[in-house]
C-alpha cells in the first residue's frame, strides 16, 4: 500500500535559518507516527508543510500522493488538524465551534449535526455542549480541538504538541482518546517533546534535532539500539558530583554527568549501585529506572529534551 505521507530531502528555510534540513520519512496508513525533539527542532515546520499551509522550500513531499504546492486544497480537505494553541472561538459555544469548522469542510448542515453528537460524546463534553468555550478547562479545550479536527472524518490527523500545558490527569484522558482513535484506524502524526508521550502513543517515530532526523524506529527499538536496559540516577551533594565522575565511569557502560545528577547506563542498575557504594561513594539519593527515549535523545545529541 502506498504511504500516506512521503518526504525526501524535505527542507524549510526562513531566510538564512534552516528550520528543516533535508529530512526523509514516510507514514503508512493506520500508523501513529511521531516527531520527537526539543523546541525549535523543526517539528512544527514539518507539520505545517504536511498540512499544506506552509510552502516547501526544497525537496519532495507527497501527502495522499498529492503535491501540496498544487493540490493544497484537496490535501487540506482530507486532513484533521489539531494545532498547538487551540485557536477556538472563545465567545462561541462548544457546538458552534464544531459546526463552523464543519462548514469550512463543506459538510452539509444536517450531516454536521449528526457528527457533532458523536464528537461531543467522544470528547466527553456532553454537559458543556451549549456553554461558551472560554471558561472550559485546558483539557476540555484540547479535547474539543481534537474533536474539531475529526469533524471531516480525516484520513490523517495531525497533532502538534497535543498535551503541552495540560496537567497529568488531563494528559492521560487525552492519551486514552488518541489511543481509541488509533484503534479505530485513524492515522496520526504527532509532534511532542515529551518522551513518555511518544512512548505511549507512537508506533514509530523519528527523533529530530536542529532540523535533522537523528534516529528513527519504534520507541522500544530506539531504546534497545541506543540505550541500555536500565538507568541508575544518582545525586550527590553540591560540589561532589564532578570529583566522583572518574569513579562512576568504572561502574557502568556509559555515564552522563548532568548539572545536578549522574545517569549511569547499565544492564543491571542494582549491582552498579552496590559497586558505587563499594568504591566508597555516598550519593545523596539513587533511583533505578528503565531507559526512556529521553536517554536516547541525550546519547544522540548530548543534550536533554526539556531544559
Amino acid at each position: 500500500m502506498k504511504p500516506l505521507v512521503e518526504a525526501a530531502s524535505l527542507t524549510k528555510r526562513f531566510g538564512d535559518f534552516t528550520a528543516v534540513d533535508a529530512i526523509g520519512f514516510s507514514v503508512a496508513s493506520g500508523e501513529v507516527f511521531g516527531f520527537l525533539g526539543p523546541n525549535g527542532a523543526g517539528k512544527s515546520s514539518t507539520m505545517r508543510m504536511i498540512g499544506a499551509v506552509s510552502p516547501v522550500t526544497s525537496g519532495r513531499l507527497r501527502v495522499f500522493g498529492l503535491d501540496p504546492a498544487k493540490d493544497g486544497r484537496r490535501i487540506r480537505s482530507r486532513l484533521g488538524v489539531v494545532p498547538q494553541d487551540d485557536s477556538l472561538d472563545m465567545e462561541l459555544s462548544v457546538e458552534e465551534n464544531l459546526y463552523i469548522y464543519g462548514r469550512y469542510y463543506d459538510i452539509p448542515r444536517r450531516e454536521i449535526r449528526a457528527r457533532i453528537e458523536e464528537l461531543i460524546d467522544f470528547a466527553q463534553l456532553g454537559e458543556r455542549r451549549t456553554s461558551r468555550v472560554d471558561p472550559l478547562s485546558g483539557g476540555m479545550k484540547r479535547r474539543l480541538t481534537i474533536a474539531r479536527g475529526l469533524i471531516n472524518r480525516p484520513d490523517l490527523l495531525l497533532l502538534d504538541e497535543p498535551t503541552t500545558g495540560l496537567d497529568p490527569q488531563a494528559r492521560h484522558v487525552l492519551w486514552d482518546r488518541l489511543y481509541r482513535l488509533k484503534q479505530d484506524g485513524v492515522t496520526q502524526i504527532i509532534t511532542t517533546h515529551y518522551m513518555d508521550e511518544a512512548e505511549q502513543l507512537c508506533d514509530r517515530l523519528v527523533i529530530m534535532d536542529r532540523g535533522r532526523i537523528v534516529a528513527e524506529g519504534s520507541p522500544r527499538g530506539l531504546i534497545e539500539t541506543h540505550s541500555t536496559r536500565e538507568v541508575l540516577e544518582v545525586r550527590f551533594p553540591v560540589g561532589e558530583l564532578e570529583p566522583a565522575g572518574p569513579t562512576l565511569h568504572k561502574t557502568a557502560d556509559r555515564v552522563e554527568l548532568l548539572a545536578d545528577r549522574a545517569l549511569l547506563y547499565t544492564s543491571d542498575a542494582d549491582s552498579a549501585l552496590g559497586e558505587i557504594h563499594r568504591l566508597g561513594l555516598r550519593p545523596e539519593s539513587a533511583l533505578v529506572r528503565r531507559s526512556t527515549l529521553e536517554d536516547v535523545f541525550l546519547k544522540l545529541t548530548g543534550r536533554t529534551l526539556v531544559d
Binding site: 494545532p83 485557536s87 477556538l88 465567545e91 462561541l92 469548522y101 469550512y104 469542510y105 463543506d106 474539531r148
Partner: protein
C-alpha cells in the same frame, strides 16, 4: 473566487456576530441616528436660518447631512471590520490560522472577510437610510439608492485597513489610524459641511480621501445634486482603492499565515 470557501467564512462570521450584535448595532446605527437627530434637526434649526453653503441654499441641513452621515457610518463599519476583527483573527482567537488549515485557505478567508464586510455595511446603510427617511430627511427611494454607495465606501475602507492591520502585533498603530485618519476623514470630508468651506490646501487633502468621493456620490444619488466630478470618476476611485487594498491584503495575509 473560492466559492464556497468564502461563503463559509461569511457564515462563520454571521454565527459569531449573533453574540455581539447588540453592542455592534449601537455603534453602527444608534449612534449615527442620534447624530442625525442632534446635528441635523437640532443644530440644523440654527444652520437653516443662515444663508446656506454655496450651491445648497434651499436645502435643509438635515437633508444635506443624511447622505454624508450614511456613507461616513459605512466607512466606520468598514474600518472596524478591517482592524480589530483582523487582529482578533490573527492574534487573539487565532481563528484565521484554523481557517487557513482547512480547505477554505487564505484566499477564501480574505474573500469571505470582504464579502462579510460588504453585508455588514449594506445592513448599516439600509437601516440608517430607513431612519433618515423616517425623519423626513430624504425620500425612501433615495435611502435605498445610497446603499450601493455605502457598500463601495465600506469596501474601499476595509481593504486598505485590512492590509494595514495584517502584520500588526497589537492595536497601537490601528488606534492611531482611527485617531489621525478615520476621525478627521469623518469630520472633514464633506460629511457635515461642503469641503469648499475648507482652506485650499485642506480641500486638496479632502479630495483624495475615499470618503469625500462617497459623500459626493451619495448626495448626487439621494438629492440629485451635481457631484464635483463625473459619477464614474468617483465610483472608479472607490473601486480602485478597494482593488489595490484587497490585493495587498491578500499578499500580506499569505505572507503571515502561510509561512
Amino acid at each position: 473566487m473560492q466559492v464556497p470557501g468564502a461563503l463559509r467564512v461569511v457564515e462563520a462570521n454571521a454565527i459569531a456576530y449573533r453574540r455581539v450584535w447588540k453592542g455592534s448595532a449601537f455603534s453602527s446605527f444608534v449612534t449615527p441616528a442620534l447624530f442625525l437627530v442632534a446635528m441635523g434637526l437640532g443644530l440644523g434649526s440654527l444652520v437653516d436660518r443662515g444663508t446656506g453653503a454655496p450651491g445648497f441654499e434651499d436645502l435643509s441641513y438635515v437633508s444635506f447631512l443624511a447622505p454624508g452621515l450614511l456613507v461616513a457610518s459605512a466607512m466606520q463599519t468598514g474600518a472596524a471590520e478591517g482592524s480589530f476583527q483582523v487582529i482578533a483573527g490573527m492574534k487573539w482567537t487565532r481563528n484565521y490560522h484554523s481557517v487557513v488549515a482547512s480547505p477554505v485557505g487564505t484566499r477564501g478567508l480574505v474573500e469571505g472577510h470582504f464579502i462579510w464586510t460588504g453585508l455588514r455595511v449594506l445592513t448599516v446603510s439600509v437601516i440608517f437610510g430607513a431612519v433618515a427617511a423616517a425623519l423626513g430627511a430624504i425620500s425612501p427611494v433615495a435611502a435605498l439608492a445610497m446603499a450601493p454607495i455605502g457598500i463601495l465606501i465600506g469596501l474601499a475602507t476595509v481593504a486598505p485597513m485590512t492590509a494595514f492591520t495584517a502584520n500588526r502585533e497589537n492595536t497601537e498603530a490601528v488606534t492611531a489610524v482611527f485617531r489621525f485618519g478615520i476621525t478627521p476623514m469623518y469630520l472633514f470630508s464633506g460629511t457635515f459641511f461642503p469641503i469648499t468651506q475648507l482652506p485650499d490646501w485642506l480641500q486638496s487633502v479632502a479630495t483624495v480621501t475615499p470618503l469625500w468621493h462617497a459623500v459626493e456620490m451619495a448626495r448626487r444619488v439621494a438629492l440629485g445634486y451635481d457631484s464635483a466630478l463625473p459619477a464614474w470618476q468617483h465610483v472608479g476611485y472607490l473601486v480602485l482603492v478597494f482593488v489595490v487594498g484587497a490585493a495587498l491584503a491578500y499578499r500580506l495575509f499569505s505572507r503571515r499565515l502561510n509561512v
